[in-house]
Symmetry: C2
């Protein structure tokens, strides 16, 4: 049985519809922020739509410019595709441009879009669909080095921490790859596995595939998911941790958060509890696992208190502690084994 | 969104094909052993096939006897359905009998079988397919009590321990239900969720559905899966543990096993390690979780050494320690909170 990992065609045209709210266009913004070299333009259906400071480009111009994929860069409540987008998406597909989305409605469930893609020999790619024929994890040691971002909760910066680590490690001369485990991350990296969409038996097997054998000095920086203390998503976090065989991990936290977001009966675990449990579980497949730093989203902290807050955490845990979006991650990189 | 849990129609006709080897007919044997009152007959395609000591019954007699489901009680290597079985299966489906299987080949992928089921208004039920629209786990406390069987490895008696506990608890006057989380268990119970086939995000949510709110004194005895120390399947075990909100658990072990079966690089965890880690993880959703006993498959131990072996384990951990197939589970039941 052959397992094919997703690989997006570059360069990208970011489709924003008429979405004006940054929160709902964060996928598009994330791609433009982290992979500007892959983005040749944006396609907006209204002048009020968010401007990612990319060239506005209609489908014909994008096809001419050799765009490989049109990426739907918005996330809608409900996650379906508005009827009035279909003209644009169909003309792109018919022009040979792959259509990429991670919405609840599957692209290939829309007949006119299927027809357009068939006519244009383009692909309809749903980044929420994992590859077929994933293996059960073997637990066998792989060559190369791995860092995983873990967290005290969901949605507090595991993806952006991993991306900043990749950027800073590359600048510092490391051979390094960001490995995406969620849909936005996959669109940014152009490849990856949506780990939370994998069937239970194969979660750790998918994690093994996500960071395959590599050169001994090469680092994979793996995007974490959920939290091992999350009452809804802990199984995903456990499976990803065990399959990743991480040599190092960075613990991510949002300053001021006191409860699991959306599960208000559950107190947030402490950073120390997450570190201790991550080492306990991760030791199964990599006895050398250790925490190399703490990454905190400090948005909720007054500017003048930020440094004190980070310094106190750093002293408490004996680890570098940074807001990666403000401080970068050099202090953490110095701790790598 | 409505989520429908599988419910098999009774009584059963156990189909054995020409399978003579007990190991490969263990699903059929399990149903006959644990739910004899639901089995009206067996259907064998050869006189050499395993005899479950049920009445031999061709399809016409089974239909006349009001059989609800024909259950394919064998597991074949590769997991497909032999061509020459199809006449029998089709005639049962056409006679209004549901066909139930848990093989790799899906029943509804076979055109002649689909046609026969349509003609007979019967169902083709694949117990490996979980219900649709499973929720993410809420972590909210449910009423009633729950016991989960956990293990040092796969395939060492978690299902049979749970079934023996159900049987003994019922004899002792408890209100109790066995809750099946795997395909053979589902066929025995007539209902359940194949937890290892659920998409990652919904593992703990499926576990919550599996043992819903109940009377305060009612016990669900939940069939465990895998092991939290298993390099391949730990994520399933974690998610099931967290969603089960177990008040009590029984730790299952196979005497003499030294390594994870099929993962020979991995030493088996000790019973003590499994108890400690199960409490640590299970405390997230039920701080009162505790181990109430140890269940050991003692097949590999000489008869004269069996009692000493169990007594030593019992003394070491301060818990009752039984081989449930020989000793029953009363000693464990006395420990229930």
């Amino acid at each position: 049985m052959h397992t094919q990992t997703l690989k997006l065609r570059t360069p990208y045209l970011i489709f924003l519809g008429e979405e004006a709210r940054p929160t709902y266009a964060k996928t598009g913004k994330g791609i433009a922020d982290w992979r500007p070299e892959l983005c040749v333009g944006q396609l907006r259906l209204s002048d009020d739509a968010l401007d990612l400071k990319l060239a506005d480009m209609p489908v014909a111009a994008a096809a001419e410019a050799g765009v490989g994929s049109l990426i739907v860069g918005t996330a809608l409540v409900g996650g379906s595709i508005p009827e009035h987008w279909l003209d644009t998406l169909c003309s792109a597909a018919a022009a040979g441009i792959d259509i990429v989305a991670g919405l609840h409605t599957r692209l290939d469930s829309i007949a006119v879009l299927r027809d357009a893609a068939a006519a244009g020999h383009s692909r309809l790619i749903d980044v929420r669909i994992p590859p077929k024929n994933l293996p059960v994890a073997s637990g066998k040691k792989r060559s190369g080095k791995r860092l995983l971002t873990v967290g005290t909760d969901c949605a507090l910066g595991k993806k952006y921490t991993a991306l900043q680590l990749e950027r800073d490690m590359r600048s510092a001369g490391y051979s390094v790859d960001f490995r995406a485990s969620g849909q936005t991350g996959i669109m940014i990296a152009g490849t990856g596995i949506p780990i939370d969409c994998v069937v239970a038996d194969f979660i750790s097997g998918a994690a093994e595939m996500l960071s395959p054998d590599n050169d001994p000095e090469h680092w994979d920086v793996i995007e974490g998911q959920g939290s091992i203390y999350h009452p809804g998503y802990a199984a995903v976090s456990h499976g990803l941790l065990i399959g990743s065989q991480a040599d190092a991990f960075v613990t991510c936290h949002a300053a001021g958060r006191t409860h699991i977001e959306g599960w208000e009966d559950y107190l947030l675990p402490s950073i120390g509890e997450v570190i201790e449990r991550t080492i306990a579980i991760g030791s199964l497949t990599n006895p050398g696992i250790r925490c190399v730093g703490i990454s905190v989203n400090t948005r909720s902290i007054a500017h003048e208190n930020r440094e004190d807050y980070l310094a106190q955490l750093s002293a408490k845990y004996g680890l570098p502690c940074v807001d990666p979006m403000i401080d970068g991650t050099s202090a953490i990189i110095h701790q790598l084994p």
